[in-house]
Subunit: 504 residues, 4 copies
């Protein structure tokens, strides 16, 4: 509504009241103006009413929402289903243009603003989370793996001779595939065991660089956030090696924004050495649906180069999600989430320690991993691996999600590469274990329920082991096969489940 509509309103109801309403409107507008002018995440989260008004206002700037528009092109933002239009707040044109995912669309000023503001807000949050000298970033509607691929594809044009990517091992398929998909050969650097922790073998990295020759290496691909007992890579030292040999350095910071330690490592790496880009998941760090990532870096033009590698327009959906989320939370809300996560980590740590000791197990000592914990599973009897797998399955069917059991000696072949001890980031970890993580948004209740259910499951498995009963149908279980562990575990669990349900 504008001056004239308010004037018309004053004739219908008392001018004094309309003026009061008009005044109130201004405070919403003020927030919007601040946002557009500063491009920063507001300290206090916005009301839903301000947020929705803002989104409506942006949307009507897109040509598909023009009242008098006539479309004679092949892509006019028409929508067949009102449900679909509504759930996207009538933003239909996506983001970017054929040449560049960060470019402005003539047909869609509102969507373009949405895109710019989102990237600006996200940059602000990355700084706030610890990488103070980041200079540019953009949201891309692809998950972390594919975003890493995009980085590698961009580097290819800069390094025509390169064939290899140096990669300190982390047993997560999509990291590995991101290199394969981009058409490069991953050079796996095995981790070294220090105490309980698995850490980067810096000497092996440098040796490999010399062996292959820097020009043949596309980049070093390191990782921060990971499952214990692996810990974040030694980013500072890797960054120095990269700087020394003139090799690009791409960091997989998948769920590291939520941890000040991970962010600090990146900041330090960039300060003392070389980091070209770091990539993080939207869903894992900002509690939005799966499907987006942030590509960020310290060199404006390189980040732009990546954004120009994305051919064609892209979904605005992940950008919209993170925009809504950050405006709702405000930077204070996000900081609060970070703080609570830290507390949950301590709580989970102490509870898991206590429980493990009850069962003559122990919590692995992994002080460098700020998110994930591991508890040994050494005492499950003779047929250990089967018991370990079964425990995982039991937790799954009891609605514990995200817990992960790692038996010894699992072998997995990914895109032709065979990994010994797959899931444990090393060929031969000393023992089987169970992982649990304290990720952003976790609640005390999650920890308590987990500990309670884990306790029950451990008890049940022990009892089962003591009986030394043979579970039918899984006798031909061969650990060296490339099996789907989860599927198999579920089969194993069928026998136990009834007993459990009757007793609980």
């Amino acid at each position: 509504m504008n001056r004239e509509t308010f004037a018309a309103g004053e004739r219908l109801v008392s001018p004094a009241y309309v003026r009061q309403g008009c005044e109130a409107r201004r405070s919403h507008e003020h927030l919007v103006r601040l946002l557009l002018e500063k491009g920063k995440c507001p300290e206090d989260g916005w009301d839903e009413s301000t947020l929705e008004l803002f989104l409506h206002e942006l949307a009507i700037m897109d040509s598909n929402n023009f009242l008098g528009n006539c479309g004679v092109g092949e892509r006019e933002g028409r929508v067949a289903s009102a449900l679909v239009a509504r759930r996207h707040y009538r933003f239909i044109h996506g983001i970017g243009r054929s040449g560049d995912i960060s470019a402005v669309q003539p047909k869609a000023a509102g969507s373009s603003l949405l895109n710019k503001i989102t990237n600006s807000l996200v940059l602000d949050i990355i700084k706030l989370a610890g990488v103070h000298t980041v200079t540019n970033c953009f949201v891309v509607p692809m998950a972390t793996g594919m975003s890493l691929t995009l980085c590698f594809l961009t580097l290819r044009h800069r390094r025509p001779k390169a064939k290899y990517i140096i990669w300190p091992r982390i047993d997560q398929k999509s990291c590995f595939k991101s290199m394969i998909t981009a058409g490069f050969e991953p050079v796996v650097i095995e981790n070294v065991l220090e105490g309980d922790e698995l850490r980067t073998d810096l000497e092996a990295v440098e040796a490999k660089v010399r062996e292959l020759g820097p020009d043949h290496i596309l980049c070093v691909h390191s990782t921060t956030s990971c499952f214990a007992p692996r810990v974040p890579d030694r980013l500072e030292e890797l960054a120095v090696i990269c700087a020394d040999y003139g090799i690009p350095h791409v960091v997989n910071n998948a769920y590291g924004v939520q941890s000040s330690k991970c962010m600090h490592l990146i900041q330090q790496g960039a300060r003392v050495g070389r980091i070209d880009a770091f990539v993080q998941s939207l869903d894992k760090n900002f509690m939005v649906p799966v499907g987006g990532a942030i590509i960020a870096g310290f060199n404006d033009s390189f980040i732009q180069e990546i954004s120009k590698m994305y051919p064609g327009r892209a979904s605005a959906s992940p950008s919209l999600d993170v925009l809504i989320t950050l405006l709702s939370l405000g930077s204070n809300g996000y900081k609060k989430l970070l703080k609570e996560r830290k507390e949950m980590f301590s709580y989970l740590s102490s509870q898991l320690k206590k429980l493990s000791e009850t069962y003559n197990e122990r919590l692995l000592h992994t002080p460098h991993n700020p998110i994930s914990l591991a508890m040994t599973l050494k005492t499950l009897g003779d047929d250990e691996d089967k018991a370990v797998t079964q425990l995982g399955s039991m937790l799954f069917t009891r609605q514990v999600s995200g817990a992960r059991v790692v038996p010894l000696g699992s072998v997995q072949t990914v895109s032709g590469y065979t990994f010994q001890g797959f899931m444990s980031h090393t060929n031969n970890y000393p023992c089987a274990y169970l992982n649990a993580a304290a990720a952003i948004g976790m609640k005390t209740q999650d920890v308590d329920l987990f500990i309670k259910r884990l306790d029950k499951c451990l008890k049940a498995v022990r009892k089962e082991q003591n009986k030394k009963s043979h579970v039918s149908g899984v006798d031909n279980y061969d650990r060296t096969e490339n099996v789907d562990i989860e599927e198999m575990a579920l089969k194993l669990d069928n026998v136990l489940l009834d007993t459990y349900q009757n007793s609980s």
Copy 2:
């Protein structure tokens, strides 16, 4: 967004595109301004985007949506559930003030505007539908019956000696109860049979007026829309009697807005005689959820007097529904619905005629009823009433809704008054019959399905009759009891249903 926010936007994306978006915004604003200035239903319906923007803009004028509000009263528009807030577009304060349902609320300029605009739009539509000289109306969040009660309660203060309401019989409970609830004694005027039609007995009305004395009569309470073979009351003549004897005249126009005939009767009545208020349902005429009515009239101050009789605030929900509906449809959309209804009436009429003749029945000749039709049910065999009832039940369980069978001789007692031949508007209609109506929003498919299913059911009932089988469990069926016909019919249908399902 205002000038400054747009300026900020121009710095983020191209000024040319932002200007285009800003221009587009103006066309939405233009529609809103026109609405507020003219207070008329727009000819063309609004887009959802204009509509929702408008509602958002109104809502932020209410104090519960002020960003800096602090509430220290007992009614602050707080909402516990976000789902609830959202479904009401954050309009929480309702409409009206303690003194008057049409009054402006200081705390809620937006809701007050919503209320004023809705009443203004509805007035516009009533004119368009045929009552050109209506001067005032308001939406009240009560169904037709309670709204009639409110009119009667208002009249009480003007006519302290009045005890009676003259009421040409119509067999619909809530009309009757509206008078009882208001504390008056209905004086039932039986209808006269003219051909197949049941029409107002004007002489009986006038005789009764003289017998009781005008001062003891609160008002004449007449009806337009009704089930055939009753037809709308002779409003012109009644209005003249009311004018002659100085008796108020309240018209129950429940679903008459959709019919130009009903509206014409009201217009004529007001022109030649006296009509004080006419009441119509929101849901039946405007395809919104049940729960609101419009009280309208030709004398501004009397309508205001009624609105001041409603003690306290009231739900804004029915007003919001009709506002959204009328803005979405536009007056052209509403006219189109009226036109389609007329066509559906002709279609239903011809189809029902054809079907009835196949079964040696006939369509009653009720040319004065523009909405409802009746087809005789004379030939269902010896145990006619049972068969009639069973037919109704069968239609119900086959998902024909709104069809209504009227057996002979049903007796019903309502609030102590006993009606012979209840449902048929007369003590002794010559035959049993079935009603079907062509109401606003009906589709060809409704008619076709209905005719098809009715055909099947008639066939089944006939077959059943021929077998003269005794249906167990309903032998003690006593037509003179005050029974719930629908409940009983369902019981009757159980036997037939299986047969039907197997054959279809």
Copy 3:
């Protein structure tokens, strides 16, 4: 989804996972079943997903949502606007039938269930809130005032000779109008001053009963929740008088459900004497939009009689709101809100006490009022009343809503009755004062902002008073007129506002 659809699902994705999902579904269903079987508010609030699933499931039981329905009646639940359908979760048929607002609708099993369940939940909450022996209640889509009118109209049929309603004075228009609208003559019983409190004059009540004769009295109409310094009526004693003289007793418990004291009074009244019905607002007690009330009582058949007085169907909207709210909160959530309100009352009380003393005013001692507080305004200088009014206006324009200033000697005529000292519940309260209330949902922030702004405003008014400046345009202010105080106050405030804004 049912067994067969799950089976089909298992063929598409792993059976183990589908089974897990199916298991999860059962826990939602379990909650629904418990609700339907017990009819009680669940202890823990439901998730949005359970809630929306439940509403969807109910809605598809209504005939307007049958996939194969064909409608040939005049009221088929058709909806013109998808926005409208959606916001009502596709419940279109409202609640009740022509005869009875609590009756089941054949066309709408889902809406009927919704209605039954809501009434059942609300009954549970009323018990939980302190009226343990309540036996029946129903939600009616009218505000408190009109609901009281309905009670009075129902009593009329039981007490044909009655003309009067005994009413201990409370200065709130809609209470008063509820009696006028019902067609009765209110007999105002002035309150007595005890300390700072205004309390029921029991002797005057009994004297009046004797004077008029019990048969001529429709009922006693008492009040619990009210603005200080009036306090809840002496319900126990009134209930005993009613029992002794055989007079019905209707209690206006507008926002009393939120106070254990008010509820206790009703419980006690019913235990030792007679209470026929007590009426409470939905919005004020359950944080839903304005527009509904609950009529409750201790005699099943009387409450049913009232529900049968409502002629016709009614909006389901208020019922739906309260259902969503109570299922979201759970009884624990509601209890928490009650507890927090009590704490806020203490906090507001202490803060207001402190502030009042700074200005040489005092908090009135009104220990019997559990919700509303009053602070004297004695020291605002010579032209006291003008200053008091101006203070109210200033608070309003500074977005303090619900605060209420009560000048001395205001005179108001309502429906022909003239009240001296209107707003103060007595002809001559010793001093002007300001009201603030701690209602359900209030936050610490509301109190803090209020105290801060009140402080500023008091300072500004004092300063103004000291200048003894004449504010132009309001010189002809006549306190004995029936003026709209809020409108006038706003005019008064215009001069001050600029100063204030510059300084803040």
Copy 4:
């Protein structure tokens, strides 16, 4: 609701009515079962109520919606904003697993089902649209360009020696970039002019294949849908060449699903020769928001191989959009859209022909292009190119979107490659022209408005040209530069705009 909840419901309202509701539920369930069992698009579109119920049911099968879930992983589907959760119907886990975008997620049976069903429905529609022998496809949340890149990256692993992609020229940046991004060198095959049409130079293709050697060629990358006067590539002949030389063949079928001609070409190509994959946009063919594509093919294992190249999970948002859309439309609704588009194409064609002749221009004769049309712009005076550009700008600011003017001699450099006559698909097309397309969802009103506005703009430009006025500020316009034509055009238009607005 299940059997037990219905039983509980029957105790609250009449069993007969609840049974009726329960019956009604079954018809929704029936539709869901059919969908899951057959995996085909239903003929008739679903009601919103069935659709939303289905989505709710799926969503509660995901672990983030389990009532008793406790999450101890790094990705638990937690959502910070209720708005975000709601707009995704609480599907948070995305689709796919680290290894494969089509894989089933243990944590998210509902999302997994959604993914499978969507792919199945889309396959059904592709068959229906003309490619009857397609065997597999999947929706990928990336636009067409990036999806083509993924195809090329997959082929790399099969053809280690390949460096080149044979590409019949089409002037659209993202097609070109899709090859660059994948790291290959596009070998541009210029089109040949046949009449007005630009068609595939088959001889040049075959010559190039021989020259480079089949092993060094990754694939032929052909195009169907394109702007006139270019027409779809000669797919059959290309497919035969590919088969003969053992070269893969990837077809960019961006918006070709909507055209039976394009689909027929693909079907024929696959029948007589070799097509490995064809890629189409979701938004352009299914009227959903930008951001998704479908990768389809005739060899099951190759399509699976592509799906396994996508590293990590992906957004479910595009899949959800197309699922909702197809279920709403039904196959009949989609066919209707296709039919209407064809009619619009004829209408646009005839209207444009008429208009062009009025201005002594002509509609280019391009019978092989089923979607896009071109009208010459030969007569705009001396400074032709400027006038052409200005015309484009004028159309843009008058809210004609999608019309595209193509001046002569525009030069553009994309990723280091320079294109003469960019936008016209050839180095030297005989004349400038204007494009308009009839895409799915176009309405008569679009055509009429377009013709009217184009008429006005042509008139204005002619008038301007006649004045031979020099437009200031754009004198230094250099057609050989790599300029952003749209930006520049807008500048040019500023002078004219005022005149236009005054006259209209």
